[in-house]
Symmetry: C2
Subunit: 140 residues, 2 copies
DNA sequence: GCTTGACCTAGAGTTAACTCTAGGGAATAA
DNA sequence: TTATTCCCTAGAGTTAACTCTAGGTCAAGC
């Protein structure tokens, strides 16, 4: 079976070797096997597992909680409910983040428009008498 | 003109008074005025400016860069281009974040499905022979 | 006049997630 | 066989963004 060194795995995942060792130290990578002399061997499936870990990180999950999930995985079917609930929670978290980003985008787009107009006019003063949308016409 | 104390402003913005003082210390709030004895007075427009600051933070912008933007604002029309470019950059950053969240959501939803099926069956073994979508059928 | 509670500053402490260094071992190339 | 280049661990250092403490000021109510 094909395996990868830590630096190959790091490159594939866009992480540093420091980060991978840190994850291992924190208990996130109990599945990564070693050679007799202690060198880590990353299997294809380990890379996939790491992608799931990165995915959980993107949802805003702290490493200690990801470690809990990894532990549940090695405890077998008795933890299926916990794991299911965890993913439902993550789903809700991502939905909330998407909503927040949408609101953020609206403000940013208003600002882009505000500065485009000001730049075309050569001065911010064009917005001085603008009452409608004055929330976005403030200096800051 | 109606003003708010630091604790009232904090409540409105869902921040702590520590955070607001920290922002001030970092140079994010040069517009907040003080009483003769040094107490901060938050105007309605200051609250609005802080909402923009929070918005920029949501886009992933570090406080030091937000401080640059705030400085540009007090330098007048000569910095209009910088500020416009900054918001265009922020827009691109938010778009990238949205894309990443979408990809994340797909993985999470697959996982939800995976665990729902396993939970209904009472065991993860139901996925053992599943070749299609095996990326999501891994233990981790 | 005195207590209470909110405000202030300076600066120390915390937390998460890395990031790096020192010191050492194994394998490969010349 | 020696140099190079990877790998390893333990543990120290870094960074961002708070978060809190100590010690003090000030204004309102009793």
């Amino acid at each position: 079976m094909k395996t990868f060194s830590i630096s190959e795995a790091a490159k594939q995942l866009n992480l540093t070797i420091y980060t991978l060792r840190y994850y291992d130290k924190e208990g996130l990578l109990p599945f990564v096997e070693r050679t007799a002399s202690g060198t880590r061997l990353f299997k294809e499936s380990d890379i996939e597992s790491l992608k799931v870990i990165e995915c959980l990180k993107t949802t805003g999950m702290p490493i200690k909680e990801i470690k809990n999930f990894i532990s549940w995985c090695s405890e077998g079917d008795t933890t299926l409910k916990q794991r299911y609930d965890m993913f439902l929670e993550r789903k809700a978290a991502v939905e909330a983040q998407m909503e927040e980003l949408k609101r953020t985008m609206e403000v940013i787009e208003h600002k882009c428009l505000y500065y485009k107009t000001a730049l075309d006019a050569g001065t911010e003063d064009v917005h001085k008498n603008n009452k409608i949308g004055s929330n976005f016409a403030s200096t800051y």
